[in-house]
Every structure is written in C-alpha cells, then in structure tokens.
Symmetry: C2
Subunit: 649 residues, 2 copies
C-alpha cells in the first residue's frame, strides 16, 4: 500500500531533482587524481538514489558508494518521456587520449551542480588489466572524476568477473565436448547426455529445443532412431574453426598464443588457442547492447563458437549452456550507480573493446538514465576512440539496438592533437612532449583543424547537431583556443567552446553545458548511414568511403570467403563493426590529418552473432595487452592501517 | 557523539542477542534444495547485522542478503571474551560426502533458533567451477541451508574473483619479467625500471626494499655500481623452477597442461605451464589464514614463485607486485555475512583446497564470530575431508595461525559410510546405491565402526572432547542408529547423537546442540601434535604414524631433495599440510576401515611460503576438475520474468 503510493507519487511528480551537490574547492596546481578523489567524501549511494527518484526496492547496494539498479524501473517509468541524449565523441586522438571521459563527467557536473538541470553520465567500466599495466585508471581526471576512483577502476560490482566466468565456462564446454565426442560411441554419448534418473529417461528443456532445431519432433528418448541419435549427440565441431577464445582480465602477453590439452587425460586432442583480455569477450558486447534479461539470454544462446564439419554454425545453445550463462550474468545486467566529484549521478556499465567490438557503454544504462532525468534532463554517454570509429558504431550499431535517437554530439578536441594533425612531431606515451606542443604555434593548429573539420562532417552525415568541446591545457595560448573555436564554427559546428573542467570542475564546463542545451533544441534529422539489407561488402564500402574518406576497399581472399560464408549462413543483414586503428582516419596510424586516396584493405571478416554484428579486420588487432618492463604496479600500494589505496592514477 | 555512545552501549551490553528467527514448516517428502531455499524469505541483511550487534559502519551491504563485515570490529571488541569454538569434522567419507556442512548449519539453527543461544556458522565459499560441472552447490542441504543458496553458490561478494585477478597478475608478471630480462641489457632494464620522471630518477618504495634485501644500502639511483645494477635488475628466474600457476574458477580440463608464449611477440620464450582451479591458489590459503590487512600484505609479499639460477627463492615482493596484490584483495579480506534457513547468522569466507592446502574457512571469520557470539555463545566451523586430514590441519595449521583454542569437535558419521568401511560394496557418485545401503545390515555397521573409532582416537590426540553426530538417512534402521551411538560412546566420544536437521531443520539437531553445549564445559587440554622445530621429515612421520596409522614414510629422491632445499632456504620450521586422498586413512583410496602396515610414499614436497606451510604430495593431486559429458549446466536456467534460478542443487 505504502509502496504503491510511493510509486504513484513518483510517476506523477515533476522530475526536477532535489539533488544536494557536493562542493568543490579546486587547488592549483591540480593534485593527482587519487588525491582529488580521496579528498572528496561521496554521498551514501542510497541518499543519491533517493534524490534522483529511485525507489528503495529498485536498488541493490554494494558497499557505501555503489549500487546496482534493477531493470524493473523501465517498466515503472515506461510512460515517462525520455530526456535528451548526448554523445561525447572525439577527433582522431594522440596515443595519450584527448579527454572524452573527462568532458563527459565535466559536462554533467556543469549541467546538474551548476545549472540545476537533471543529468546523468553513462560511462564504460574499464578493464582491470591495464590498471596494473601501463595506463592507470579511466574515471575521468582532475576535478571531473567519478568517485571513489579506486572502486571505479578495480572490481566495481563484479560485472567483468561475471563475463570472464561465463566466457570461460563456454570455452571449457567446447573443448570438453570435442573430447567426449571423440572418445565415445553414439550410444554411450546418448546414455550419458540423456541418463536414466530415478528409473526415468527424459530430455532437459535445452535438449528438446535442440531436437526441434534438428527437425526431430520427438520428446520420448526411447523413440529416436539411430540416425536421429547420432544427429542429436554429435555437434561435430571442426576444431580449426573455433572462434571462441578464453579470457582473463589481466595483461598477460604469454597467453596470446598457447597450446591447450597437453595433459594425458586429454588424450592427445591438443590444439592452438589464445586468451583475450576479458573486455574483448563477445559477452561484453552483448551486455552493452542488450535491452532485457530475455533478450540477453537469447543473444547468449545465439553466439556462434565454431562451425561443424559441414560448415554449419555451432552455438552456445547447441552446447546446452545458455541458461547457465544467463545465470552467471543475471546481476551484471544491472547498471552500477556511482557519482561525480560534485555528487551528480553516473552509471558505469559495460566496456566492450572499441575495435573488434563497438566500444560504447550499455544501452540499458542509457535507457534507465533517460527515464530518470525526465523530459528536460540530459543523458551524456561516451563512444570510444575518434568519431570515425566510436561515433559511427554508436549510431549504426548501438542506436539501432536501442531505438534511441541522439540529440547532440559533443566532439572533443585538443590543441595538442590538432597540432599533431597539422604536422607536429610524434606523440608517444611515456616520452616528454616536444616543444611544438608546449609553445604557441598557430600554423600547426590551423593546419591540423582539417581533422576536426572532417569529424564534424562525419557527424553531419547522421543529421545530428555537433558542439565542439575544446579541452584546454595550461600550455594552450588564448590565440590557439580562439582559432580552433573559430574554425570549428566555420566548419558547421553548432558551437565550439573551450572547457576547463579538469582544473575547475563543473564550473569550467558551464559554457559547454549551455551550448549543449541550446543545440539539443535544434531540429534533428537523425538517420543511419546504411541500410542493413545491403550486401556485407557494400556496407563496409559505405563506411570506408563516406566516413574514412577511402577511395575504395579491398577484401583479401580470406575476407571474401568469410563474407560469402556469413551471407550463406543468413547473417548478411547484420550491421558492420569496423576493427581499424583509432590513430588515423585511414588504416595507417602514421597518416594524420585527413588522409585521402587510400584503399582500405580488409584482411579478414569475423562475426559476433550474439552481439549482432560483423567485424571486418583492417590489419591485425591485438586483443591481449602486455606488461612493460616497469608496470604501474610498482607504484600501487595499500596502507594497511587507513586501508587507503596509493599509486592509482 | 551518537556513534561513540552506540559503541559504548555495544561494548557493555549483555551479549544475548534479540534475534528474530525465521519459522520453518518442513514438508515431506523433502523438496529440492533450491525449492526449499526459494520458499523462505531471508531477513534483510542489515536487520540481521543489527540483531547480532554489528554497528552500521561495520558492515558493507551487497544486495539484500549479503554484507561484508569490516575488520575494525576486532579492535572494538578486543576486550570481549571469545565464545566457544566448535569444529565439525568427519569420518572417512564415501565419494558422496557425509554432510558436514549440513551438520554445521543444522547445529547453529538448533542452538540459536531453538535453544536461544548465540551461535554463528563459519563456512567455506565453494568454487564456482563444480557448480556447473558435476556436483552442484555447497550451502548445506534440505532444511539446513544457507540462503539464498544461489547467491552462496555463485559470485557471492567476489572474493574468488579477486583471488583470480591477484593470482593471474602475479603469473603475468613472472613471464613478462623473464622476457624483458632476456631481451634487454642491464642498462636498458635499469633505465626502464628506474625511469627519469619530470627530470628526477627515483626508486619506488618496493624497489628500495629490494635493494635492502640485496644488501645495497643506497637510495640514489645514480650511485649504484654496474655490479649492483645487475644484481638489482635481474631476478634471473630459472623457468624450470616456476611453481606459480595461473588459475580460473572454471572446470577446464584442457588447461591442465599447456604451452604458453607461442606468439611472435614473445620471441620464442615458450614454456610448459598449467592452470589450476582458482581455489587452489596460494592466495586463497593466505586469505584463510591471515589475521589482518598488514599480515595479509606480508604473506602476499613472501610467496615464493620460483628459484633463481643460483637456487635462491624469488618472491612476489621481488617482482614488485605486493602492493597491487593487496589492493586487489582489500575487500576479499572481509568475511561475508549471510543467514541460515532459520535466520541465524553465517559467515562465508575463504575456501582453500583440502589437499594441497588446508581446507578450512578463514581465521578472520572465526575470530569475528567468536567476539560477536560473546562468552556463552558458539562458533561452529568446518574442516574439509575426514578428520585425519581436515581436522589435523585445522589444529596444526589453522589454530597455530590464529592462536584460538577449540572447545569441542563434532565428528560426523553416516550409517552409509560406516557400512562401506565394514566391507560394503563400492559407493560411486551418479550410480544408484546397492541394497546393502538401503536395507538394515547390523554386521556391516558394526564392522565399519572401526573407522569411527580411529577418528575419535585421532581427535583425542589433540586433547579436545568429541561429540559424534550421526546424520540419519530415512533408510537407516533404529537398530543401526543405536548401534553406532553405542559404539561411539564406548570408543571415548563424550556423546553420540542421531540428527535429523536435513528433514526437520534446527529442531532435528537440538539433541546434538545440547550435547555440544555440555561437552564445551568439559576440561580441555588442547595441544598440537608436533613441534615446529622438528625436521620436516620427522613432522611428516608423526602425522603419518599417529594420525594415519602408517608404519613409516618413504620419501622419493625428488621429495628428499625438496626437503633439503626448503631446509636450506630457511623454511624448515613451517607446519605440514599433507596432500593425501580423503577416501582412506592410507594413501590408497580403496583401503577402507582402518588400514595398517602401510608405508606412506611421499612423491614430492612443495611449499606455500606465504600461506606458511610445506605440502608433501602423497600421490598425484588433481588441481583442475573437468566437465563430464553431461555437465549440470544442462539443467540450469534463469527465468527472465521472475529472475529465478532453476536447476542448482
């Protein structure tokens, strides 16, 4: 009764939050990220949840600062109009990254803590591997961060661990099945797969579904013919076609290529395999694209892990493991609520690879956030890499899966990256920046704006207004900043705004927030770039030509044969997820600015059928990072008295 | 102020809990475990926490039914006397297990829900691997269970995932280090390990500690001689001596023996390796034995992963990874609070292997529980396998680490296992039981009681009173039950009691609870079995002769050379953790009853230096289970509407 009343009030109420923001007193020089994070006391997460209209039975608290949000909320608020949907994308970055996460966080701090507009940031959960390898955390930076940053960067609420467990259960099931099929007769397999329990022999539900797929419409195990038994018990996996790999959330380069099955108990069925980093698992891509528990279960079942010896796809469902995978993922499907340094809400959910997958946070977090902010509120989400990759996939893959229509794109640029595109010297992680980057150089900036211009044009292909956010560094001169904003506006941006959230928090992004709000009220004629009905190669060509500026594409024989296979298998109408370097619009990372006249070489074509996309490989993509000679773990420590984490950055 | 007052009241209060127990209405026939679990609504975990005297800032809630408990409680209650400490052990079991977990849970349900005595059960967290393989869950069974059983059996609060992450970070660091040392000069290694950052070159704290261990008392990187640099930068790991393995929490038999490093990027440094199941990690054993965050960090640093080419041990600390491992384990060190079917408290914490490790739940959970129950309360904890293994290790390893003194041992027996020891036919998992086990057979029972008698005698070696708990099955006849209890008492048990908690809940274990309470007030003359100062082989001999009844031991040359090596390395005074089959008192699983006249063969000797024990191998121990032809995942499913898990048992 009280619950029902609470629900009714919630559904009727004006959606302006009564949110208590946390005050910031930025220091100069800006301290390290972990020091800033630690200096701010986050609100208890149940307090935050209440402030933004979540009911007590819609959250599951994990410690003081994290909570999972139940999907039941989507049903409760289904008649509530969505808020405005903002994507943060970027120009072609340097290897250091240009601060998309920081802009995302700074923007919502500005919207909610300074302009009193409901807003939510939706971020990807970072892989734990690199946290101990070379790059450190991914919670934003400076005075635009998600806190506590060590919680964000470590286990969080266990979603990546759940993905690892599900991924590896499926991998183990594949090899064990091949072994059992190779060492047993049809009869013996059948007796074990369909055993007599308490005097009765019966199929499990997932076995009945397989029988139906095989066209065997029987339910009594005693009535199958020998031929039907053979069809039923043998998946007949061709080991050379296995595409399902094991994963760990650790940078372990020695697992890039391995031989498995060398113990005597495996009777000689060795094969070459590999481990990928956990976030490269197709299950991560599914988590990011799914819209409900039912949908997730179906996608998990559809995942193709290999072909059989006749060239037909073998799925997780065929292996009988769909239900177990769904059980392992039942909590991971709920987005995790955290907060920014200024106490505004953040969802952290899913973090698929941005090359072999689509590199965007979850559809479900965005959907829930769009309901929670209400019609006049804003949800700011982020796409990996430059706009040519992350944004293109956001529109053509993620928006297709969700049905959501974006209102504005924020395109992040830095003077540093623009100078690189203008012909500046190489920028490498770990090495000090050359003087071109620390002293004013208007010519390099002007020359490099071609990349910004091109990325703006790419955005316009999709019919969505674009606001350029220039992430200002202290070495940028006012003239450089003005020049970028001027060129951006001349190139078709709705607005272009310098931002200082890194050093000043949300206050430093207020102008950006105002520009975004204004742009969101512009006419929007959002459209996808290609029709799904086109042949696979044609869809690849459209992306290559219209987005990357390629002259044409060239498929290797291997790639062509995969295209033919997927088309034959009925997967031809999936969207395309390009696996291309993010360091150039072309396939050659050293070609900066706006390369032209190149033929994009497609070396291979693969598919994530459960996630729902075909991914052409443009060159080789590493799916397992390594540890350098001096990994960051040398600096990471735990104070056993205060329990404080040191050295994460 | 309010917090302080709350603390003061808590520390002064009479410790009898005002606990609201959950009512049970047992059905007959007894439904499946998951059905029973689902039919009971657990209390909100914060309510339970308050009932047992935990302060609000001492718990971290994980969802509705689980909470982690902070170690700060040990400081607050340090002057509070401990409760009584009860160990549940068993006779030599059949492969089906004889119900120690069920007795543990039934006993606390009886003590608290029926006799109104404060009590806590401390259980091991089960590995997730077998949940999807052959055996199903481990939350007790019938009407003596931890609920919700699916939470207990799946990710819980992520501790095993944290162990996996820490274990594999260390594994990756070993191989990456070998590669970097093999491909770089001393100078290049030094420049990378001690880089110039912002113009300054400095050692990290963990590098300074390594310098001190090497006898180099310098802090300025510029002052090291070439020889000192070489000593510092080269761990010089001998790859053939690496004992640190990677782990996954999945039954993946194809990872039992593998070759790693076969990608071109690893430049030919391939080697043979293996994955173990995650709970076999030494880090799990450390979690179970540690007494504080500081102690855990030191143990993690001490772990020996290999020898260098001079035969000296190489540790996690040498690899610079101690702090990172501690950071990954900072939440796992906190025990997880759950509840029984009758709403009484349970800690679930750590679950090390019972052969290559000591098979007991955590010291910290026991310590915290002993404070929470108060002087007149009871903490019931469980040891893996039969008393000859699990209990012996509990006393000689776990009690040594904790300094705690046990009050009573509950020795679990079943008519089924006793008949097997009396000469009954083989008992195998999956096959129906022979009629000897379902019909009365007093002779088999009488003959088999020799094993019970022997296990009682083993308990008496340690000077602790023993109560026999006969776990009654519906096929056991009253005469069989009476006979076992009579023989047990004649053999020196303080009492022997039939129990029916499986079918009746705590009510069915009230007599056991009363017997345990009485036994706890007996005189107790607890002592360890051997002095740590004895030579390694002598300690092994004492266990083999006094506990197993062996005539003598025989060390293989490999085992002898390891004993010599560990003694030389200064590890000779650690306790012994025997890795022996649990299916016989001897090393031969088929020898039931009380085998005599055997020589125990020690094939190899290994060490877990961080956990703090030497483990002799008696035969080969599998550290990676496999998936059978029809794994239990065929029956596991998730209802996408109700979110209910099906098929776990």
């Amino acid at each position: 009764m009280v619950k029902n009343m609470e629900r009714w009030i919630q559904s009727q109420q004006c959606r302006k939050w009564d949110l208590h923001s946390l005050k910031l007193q930025p220091l100069s020089p800006v301290p390290s990220d972990i020091e800033i994070s630690r200096a701010q006391s986050p609100k208890a997460v149940d307090v935050l949840a209440k402030e933004i209209g979540l009911l007590t039975d819609e959250i599951e608290i994990y410690g003081q600062t994290k909570a999972k949000v139940r999907l039941s909320l989507l049903e409760r608020l289904k008649d509530q109009p969505d808020g405005k949907y903002v994507l943060v994308a970027g120009i072609t970055p340097t290897p250091l990254g240009e601060g998309k996460s920081t802009v995302t966080v700074g923007l919502v701090q500005a919207l909610t803590a300074h302009l009193n507009i409901n807003s939510f940031a939706c971020l990807r959960q970072p892989s734990q591997g690199p946290t101990f390898g070379v790059k450190g955390g991914a919670a934003g930076g400076g005075y635009a961060q998600v806190i506590p940053m060590e919680e964000f960067n470590l286990h969080l609420t266990g979603d990546i661990h759940a993905i690892t467990a599900a991924n590896n259960l499926l991998a183990a099931a594949i090899d064990a099945r091949i072994l059992h099929e190779n060492t047993q007769s049809d009869k013996s397999l059948y007796n074990r797969l369909v055993p007599v329990v308490n005097g009765v022999r019966g199929f499990s539900a997932i076995q009945l579904a397989r029988l139906r797929r095989l066209g065997i419409n029987k339910t009594d195990p005693e009535t199958l013919t020998e031929e039907e038994i053979s069809k039923f018990v043998r998946l007949d996996i061709d080991p050379s076609t296995i595409t399902w790999q094991r994963v760990v959330d650790t940078n372990d380069r020695f697992l890039r290529k391995i031989t498995v099955g060398q113990a005597n108990t495996e009777k000689g069925f060795v094969r070459q395999a590999q481990f990928d980093i956990a976030v490269a698992s197709e299950i991560m891509a599914i988590l990011a694209l799914t819209t409900s528990l039912q949908d997730m279960k179906e996608r998990l079942g559809r995942m193709v892990v290999a072909n059989d010896k006749k060239g037909q796809p073998v799925t997780a469902e065929d292996l009988g493991v769909t239900g177990a995978l769904a059980v392992l993922m039942k909590d991971a499907i709920k987005p995790t609520l955290m907060q920014t340094l200024e106490g505004t809400p953040v969802f952290v959910h899913a973090g698929p690879f941005a090359n072999i997958a689509h590199g965007n946070s979850s559809v479900l977090a965005d959907k829930i956030a769009l309901k929670l902010v209400g019609e006049k509120g804003f949800v700011v989400t982020e796409a990996g890499f430059g706009a040519d990759i992350g944004m293109e996939k956001f529109f053509n893959i993620k928006c297709r899966a969700s049905g959501l229509v974006p209102s504005v794109v924020v395109l992040v640029a830095t003077v540093r990256a623009l100078k690189m595109h203008g012909g500046g010297p190489n920028v490498t992680a770990g090495a000090p920046l050359k003087k071109e980057y620390t002293e004013e150089n208007l010519q390099l900036v002007a020359d490099g704006c071609c990349n910004l211009q091109k990325q703006i044009q790419i955005t316009q292909l999709f019919g969505v207004p674009v606001v350029v956010a220039l992430n200002v560094f202290k070495t940028d001169s006012p003239a450089e900043v003005d020049l970028v904003c001027k060129i951006a506006k001349e190139s078709g941006a709705f607005d272009a705004v310098p931002c200082n959230h890194w050093s000043a928090g949300g206050k430093g992004a207020v102008k950006l927030a105002q520009a975004v709000e204004k742009a969101a009220n512009q006419k929007n004629s959002f459209k996808y770039l290609y029709s799904l009905e086109l042949p696979i190669a044609e869809k690849i060509r459209i992306i290559a030509q219209k987005v990357y500026g390629a002259q044409d594409i060239e498929l290797s024989p291997a790639a062509q044969s995969q295209v033919d296979r997927y088309t034959r298998q009925g997967f031809g109408n999936l969207p395309i997820c390009m696996a291309k370097t993010h360091l150039s619009l072309s396939h050659q990372p050293e070609r900066k600015g706006v390369p032209t006249g190149f033929i994009l070489p497609i070396s291979d074509v693969r598919a994530s059928i459960g996630a729902g996309f075909i991914y052409p490989l443009v060159g080789t993509m590493s799916t397992m990072p390594g540890l350098p000679t001096r990994p960051c773990f040398y600096d990471i420590d735990l104070d056993p008295i205060t329990e404080q984490v040191k050295g994460l950055f």
